[in-house]
């Protein structure tokens, strides 16, 4: 692109958007028509809910259960265990105990590094964190907490949600996640440690529930209070959240696919390095792509990938303004 063409575009942009307010508003409004089918929004797919009448009944049941039983008991529980940090510790211990669920599921998804992280977290938090009450793995070793379950693993391999289910006591789920939840039950050591002892097992479940209510109950209350239709609001939140988890899991491994366009590749490498990507960087990558196109088929795909990765490292290591260096790396003069 020649500088003169650039000037023209810049001028055009000025005329379109720097003009009188009415004109700017109109141009923006036209552009916004496109927002509904949003690039970043993948959660607007239909939710299949053939059991809606039954689900609604169970939703009301759970809601009553919350306000009539769980919340009052939770108040007493919070009064006894006034320190929120202590309740946080109990929640952490339950999370820690379920580590095998996450290890197995990360393995099933081929995320071996994350499996290693989970094993290390379990070891560190059990030994140094007093049986998982604390989280020194995150605080001291930078090994972050994550959530994995069989429902996500199934979703990772392309299994759809099926239909929506609102279980009594357990709350929102889908056909897929219910199957996953049943599997996870058998991966959780709690199931085996307390196999013969129903009372202790039930007591622990009650403790876990009450503890969660005391910590996160207000979020549920906010949702219900603000909603126009709490049932739909909850269903939507559940699906959106699950879909985002699965999308993130897919994005983490599905990188540098063979059929990727350069554009996708660039975007992936940006995400990969977890770095800030400005528009300038993307523009530069496009220029680089153009340069490659001019060379025809003489540059191999693997080389392109290497270059794309390299380009980002350089751009991020050196200031983006370090243009001569950039030109050198991108082989503009080759």
């Amino acid at each position: 692109m020649s500088p003169s063409l650039f000037l023209k575009i810049a001028l055009l942009t000025l005329v379109l958007f720097g003009g009188p307010m009415a004109g700017a508003g109109q141009a923006a409004a036209d552009d916004l028509e496109a927002l509904l089918d949003d690039d970043f929004d993948s959660t607007e797919q239909m939710i299949y809910d053939p059991l809606e009448p039954v689900n609604r009944a169970f939703f009301v049941f759970n809601d009553r259960l919350y306000f009539w039983l769980l919340k009052p008991v939770g108040k007493v529980y919070s009064a006894v265990l006034a320190d929120e940090a202590v309740r946080g510790c109990i929640s952490a211990a339950f999370h820690n105990m379920a580590a095998p669920v996450r290890v197995v599921n990360t393995l099933l998804q081929g995320k071996f590094r994350q499996s290693g992280t989970e094993v290390a977290r379990f070891a560190i938090n059990t030994v140094l964190g007093a049986g998982g009450l604390g989280d020194p793995a995150a605080a001291e070793f930078g090994l972050k907490k994550a959530d994995e379950d069989l429902g996500q693993t199934l979703g990772f391999y392309g299994v759809g949600e099926g239909f929506y289910i609102c279980w009594p006591l357990l709350g929102p789920s889908s056909a897929r996640d219910s199957v996953g939840g049943a599997g996870d039950y058998f991966l959780n050591p709690r199931t085996y440690l307390l196999a013969g002892d129903f009372r202790t097992s039930a007591g622990l479940s009650a403790l876990k529930t009450e503890n969660a209510v005391s910590l996160n109950g207000h979020e549920y209350e906010n949702l219900v209070r603000q909603a126009f239709d709490p049932y739909i609001a909850m269903r939507n939140v559940y699906y959106q959240h699950r879909r985002s988890l699965i999308a993130a899991a897919k994005g983490a491994t599905d990188q540098y696919g063979a059929g990727d366009s350069h554009d996708q590749l660039v975007r992936r490498s940006c995400l990969d390095y977890n770095d800030v990507v400005s528009f300038d960087n993307l523009i530069r990558a496009r220029r680089y792509q153009k340069c490659l196109e001019q060379k025809g088929g003489r540059v191999s795909v693997s080389r392109q990938r290497r270059q794309a990765r390299l380009i980002y490292r350089v751009l991020l290591d050196h200031n983006a303004a370090d243009l001569p260096h950039f030109a050198q790396v991108t082989n503009f003069e080759e």
Partner: protein
Amino acid sequence: MKNKINKKRGAQRLALLMSLLLLQGTWAWAGDPQSAMQETVDRVMDILTDPALAGDEFWQERRDRVAKAVAERFDFAEMARLSLAKAWNERNEAERERFVSLFKELLKNTYVERLKTYSDGSYEVIFDKVLVRGKKALVSSMVMQQGREIAASYKMYQRGNEWFVYDVVIEGVSLVSNYRSQFAGVIQQEGYEALVRRLEEKVSETVEAQPDAPGLS
């Protein structure tokens, strides 16, 4: 001969650098979405933790200032439109205006109120990622409070040389999408008029819940 080639290369390099610089200048003029969002978040944080306005008696004042700062960055009208989605096209100008003002009031009352818990400054916001595609951007941030991390992303669009938020995504849950599903449900079951009535009720409810709040203006 060799010298001539070097000169030519030098000229090429100069042209390249100039075009790149020009390019950068153009986009710098457009502003970037992350700094825009960061500026708004910083402003809100400053207001919430302002020692001169500390205490419950000044909550009213703080809330109004926060609402003002937020309104400058968030395009509530666009959020209302996107939440109504298909039903928006079937409404006339007056209905749209009424809906936007109700929706704006609803968001203000429900969400600004919830920021009260952030007044002690016991949290931190880190902007970790930004994706820009044309005139749209996705700005990601992490809110850290008492060892908990909450992922909050802002979908933004560019209008003129400013960036505006048109959706907020918390832990993968989009606010607009959530309202859209609920509004569609209410309209399908009871019709648009019922939705407006419910909105009016909600707005007055949230105001009643705060006895010191001013009217609906």
